[in-house]
Amino acid sequence: MADRFPGYDVLDKRDTPSWNQVTRDVIERRLATPRGPRFFAAQEWQTLEALCGRILPQPPDRPAVSIAALIDAKLLAGGTQGFSIGALPHDREAWKIGLAALDAEALAAHGNGFHQLAADRQDALLARAQRGELAGAAWRGMPSDLFFSKRVLGDIPAAYYAHPTAWNEIGFGGPASPRGYVRMALDRRDPWEAAEAARGHEAEARRKNRRVGR
């Protein structure tokens, strides 16, 4: 897919009035998230990485965002999305059960762990989870469809789109703290906003995006 916001890097706003020290600290901590399991066990981590690869495949031409690391860090800190689903255990437990159960279902169906399956087999298994058709003992009574819709589809995109690399991809301005936006009308742009490239006008957008950090 062509770059819709050529030359845009949200981190260029770091030292502008758009961000204050609190914002800079939060983003720095997020970027420094260790890329390895701390909350999860090694096997759960492998399953989670494979799962994230199916839910949010990333372009091969740039370093991938470690979604698994962001989810791991959040659960390690005890964080949640801020609300709980009655039929699901707490986020930490739900994730551990769900990953172990997906792995167990893969082993039962194909004799291999989830991360070792071919992509189409992983997808087929996830589709069954989405329909609530997986109910092996490893699920410990947790509905697989709820795990899929609330944890998998809730937490993975939330983690991915919390990362500046994802913001660059969609032209998101990052935290508006303290500087927000002034030109609110449709199709108007503040000089510190990402410029979207119209077809054939990529150079113009690139020039505007270079100025975002000034």
């Binding site: 009035p17 703290s177 303290p178 500087r179 936006y181 002034v182 108007r188 742009r189 000089p191």
Partner: protein, 282 residues
């Protein structure tokens, strides 16, 4: 020339220069305000450059007029002032169109957040004050200056009164939008209407030679106009990020160049009083 005539000529020129000053202050206010606000509007319509050009020219000829101690109107100043008055009217039309084309016609939201309807009128007032300055200055030596057959002092007083009332309307709308969250926001909707009423009274009773209350009230209104810049600067500093975040807060905060419009009009009112007192007989 008799000494009394010479004195009256001095008063005429002085009155004209004060009106040049008022016109210049209004033009400066319009230049800064439309510059900031139209930059915010990204000069989406190329016509949005017009008030910048017109007010810059009006500011320049007003400075020229203020420095000019000679009698007689000035052709170039006139050719700047008259179009400024007209451009202000056209601008009002543009702003009305901008509000009217928003879905829903004229609800409060559009009045609050679209192009401000009252703003271009300030350019008209600058042009009008400048035009009146040239008429006052153009009076024959020793003769009372007249505009359209009426004593110029009365005309200036009436025009100033109307200008203050219009500005009051704009301030009332925008300070209402600001929910009068600071009690000082009531000041510019309290003092100026009274100043307008006093000036209207003066315009209607030209015979009197001394109006100390009106004079002092206009001085108060002048001070208020300058103090308003300070209050608005304080308002900008209260936005998140304060003055360091000026690129958002100057645009989103209270307009810094707006309050001096009251000061300019009050100064024009004072000039009107001086003219009326000097030419009470005519």
């Amino acid at each position: 020339m008799r000494i009394a005539d010479r004195r009256k000529t001095d008063i005429t020129v002085q009155g004209a220069r004060r009106l040049n000053l008022a016109a210049g202050m209004l033009a400066a206010s319009v230049l800064a305000d439309s510059g900031v606000e139209h930059y915010r509007g990204s000069f989406h319509n190329k016509a949005m450059f017009t008030p910048l050009v017109s007010s810059a020219l009006a500011l320049a000829v007003s400075a020229h007029g203020l420095a000019d101690h000679r009698r007689g109107s000035h052709a170039f100043r006139d050719t700047v002032y008259a179009p400024a008055g007209l451009i202000g009217l056209i601008g009002t039309g543009f702003h009305l169109y901008n509000v009217a084309k928003k879905p829903g016609g004229f609800p409060w939201l559009s009045l609050f957040y679209s192009a401000p309807i009252g703003a271009p009128a300030a350019l008209s007032l600058a042009g009008l004050m400048g035009f009146l300055a040239e008429r006052v200055r153009g009076a024959a030596p020793g003769k009372p200056p007249r505009v359209g057959g009426v004593a110029a002092g009365r005309v200036v007083a009436a025009a100033t009164s109307a200008g203050i009332l219009g500005t009051f309307g704009e301030v009332a709308l925008l300070h209402f939008r600001g929910a009068y969250h600071n009690p000082f926001m009531f000041a510019p909707v309290s003092a100026p209407p009274l100043a307008a009423a006093l000036l209207a009274g003066a315009a209607l009773s030209p015979g009197r030679t001394s109006r100390p209350v009106t004079r002092w009230w206009l001085r108060l209104t002048t001070a208020l106009g300058f103090a308003g810049v300070g209050f608005h600067a304080w308002g900008v500093s209260r936005g998140m990020g304060g003055w360091r975040n000026w690129s958002q807060n100057v645009l989103n905060g209270p307009p810094l160049p707006a309050p001096p419009a009251f000061a300019a009009l009050a100064l024009a009112g004072l000039a009107a009083l001086t003219l009326m007192e000097a030419f009470a007989d005519g």
